[in-house]
Symmetry: C2
Subunit: 377 residues, 2 copies
């Protein structure tokens, strides 16, 4: 076939050129458009980060104002979509709901088939605003509460907490979520982003690409990992166990401890550094460092025993729980941030497109297998 | 990064081992589980082909009976899904509707998160039966007609035509659609199947994988091509043009003629052989060979002028139109068949899974780009 044999899972295979995200797994570097994630996490906002991801450079003040205004104005859901959310079973997982509702949003897009650069930018604003609204609205509806209208005076992070809780969030809470959104906004060709690019490369629409990405993010090996971290912490607390003993037992039983190790990073995941601090700061501000303390003990133990570093998922679990966010909203919040990166990648893919169509190495029955008529089998 | 540079679009890159589909692009061979597509197209049925794709070998008669019974029994849609279809705008494209409805079906799956082999098989029966039902039901609803209940005495192909038209289909029509479904059932790592595997490999559920695959198939570079072929034929007829002159003009204007050439085949697409015959047979049976005749003239001209062969899309256009099927149902019918292959690939992926996570070659601003505070920009 003239094909090369790839490593399973395309590990180490370059699937495309991209100018969005730089990862140096050995040095533990993550940078968006060349700017270190530490700079962005400590100095920037989600809005500024989304601007950077979509435009390639940092904005001027007027550019950022225009960008923020456009994002704020995009905070609209068609009334049919709210009806749709109401019609879904309350027990449906928020990721199924998000996947379905994002797919349905294309019905109401004024030009759902358009895949040119400007249309994709317009749709990216809409989807970024709407994904946050969908996550908050479904959580309210399933709890029998009224849907909270967005507040145009609030940032993306602050408005999300407002729509979720119906209460004006503290500056500490808003900043914590904002940092989490910055840290999760992009990560090169992770599985959901890669799925989005594969779908977009058929010249299908961005709603299709993002719907597929949400489906991929839903997987326990991708977006679902911080839920598993939190389930472990809850189980430890419920059983009144010592966290280190619990994890020692898990390792003895050859069980995987979620939130550690990463295919790309061979050192500390640079996002973990900020989430560790965020988890601690939020704990102190709320007077409850229980989840942080437990996490820290586990981290030190796993690090010493297995030489594995905490990844982005490990401290996002205690951070979100300390913010009062339900377990099954962790991955939807990941989507609320990653839409910025997904959109950047879809736009980049379609600006210079080629169908993504690899080959398989055939290892089945040797051709030609005889077709025996049914009566003779 | 220790990575290799790939050809754009992963062309020629082996992404996985697979024992499902064998393609020899130089010899023009397509085989499912080692059995030549010509054998299957002339002797088999969609049900037998789906059994083969999912199980790896041809069935015995009792096995095929059990398989067919299970597929027939899976022809059920939750009433909420019919309500959902009714709530969608009548102008929505059937592919958007299918993507959204398949996503919503997971709400009603008794164990939507399960990804073990048996659960995937159970869900594959459900999805194969339900995708056909969704396509037919939405087409009826948008035309203000009642939804037609499935007829358990009919084959998958025959029942689809029954649910679509509300009339018992002729043997010729049933066989034509059955052959089209066999021919479209799998094609190795085409973009939609690859998207399904990327999504499934995160251990997300099969509804997520198939929803993503439908989004990819929707793209004009993938499932949408036969629609474009038919649009061209309709335009030629409407303007009373000579088909060869029309295409000569297109080529002079450097326009792409849909339905010709294929990334993998360098000779005739073996599926085109059968669809050409099907288009001709159906035309003769219905006393209207107009679309076949027009197609044949174009094929001979493009073949002579550009050395390009007709692909699977070229004659499926005239075949479906002669069957009385609307233009925008061509791609949904493709999905009605390809679900067999998508399911086989998702099952294979999850039977021996590894996250699919390639790398990108970073070509953006050189790290580290300085973060200039907003006030100083």
């Amino acid at each position: 076939m003239g094909t090369a044999v790839a490593t399973k899972g395309l590990e180490g295979i370059v699937a495309t050129n991209s100018s969005i995200c730089w990862i140096d797994g050995d040095a533990g570097v993550l940078a968006y458009r060349g700017i270190d994630i530490h700079e962005l996490a400590s100095k920037s906002t989600f809005e500024e980060t989304a601007y950077l991801l979509w435009n390639g450079t940092l904005s001027t003040l007027p550019e950022l104002d225009a960008f923020t205004r456009r994002l704020t104005e995009a905070r609209k859901l068609p009334p049919q979509i709210i009806d749709l959310l109401r019609s879904f079973p309350k027990e449906a997982t928020p990721m199924e709901v998000l996947r379905t509702a994002v797919s349905a949003l294309s019905f109401y897009d004024p030009n759902e088939k358009a895949v040119d650069h400007e249309s994709n930018i317009r749709k990216s604003f809409a989807l970024t605003a709407q994904i946050a609204m969908l996550v908050a609205a479904f959580d309210r509806l399933r709890k029998g509460k009224r849907v909270v209208d967005p507040d145009p005076s609030l940032s993306h992070a602050g408005n999300f907490l407002w729509m979720l809780t119906g209460e004006k969030p503290s500056d500490t809470a808003t900043r914590a979520l904002d940092v989490a959104l910055i840290l999760h906004a992009d990560h090169e060709l992770n599985a959901s982003t890669f799925a989005a690019r594969v779908i977009a490369a058929t010249l299908s629409d961005i709603h299709s690409a993002i719907t597929g990405a949400i489906g991929a993010l839903k997987g326990p090996l991708h977006g679902g990992a911080n839920e598993n971290v939190m389930r472990m912490l809850f189980a430890i607390e419920e059983q009144g166990e010592d966290p280190v003993e619990h994890v020692r037992q898990m390792l003895a039983e050859k069980k995987k401890v979620s939130g550690f190790g990463h295919r790309v990073y061979h050192t500390e995941d640079p996002r973990a550094t900020h989430l560790r601090k965020m988890s601690e700061d939020l704990g102190r501000a709320s007077g409850n460092t229980k989840w942080f303390d437990m996490s820290r003990k586990i981290e030190l133990f796993v690090n010493a025993e297995k030489k594995l570093n905490a990844n982005v998922d490990f401290y996002s679990a205690s951070t979100y729980t300390t913010l009062g966010i339900d377990l099954d909203l962790f991955t939807p919040i990941f989507a609320t941030s990653r839409i910025a990166g997904w959109a950047a990648h879809v736009i980049e893919q379609l600006d210079d497109n080629r169908l993504i169509r690899p080959r398989a190495e055939y290892v089945g029955p040797h051709y030609p297998v005889k077709y025996t008529p049914l009566a003779q089998r």
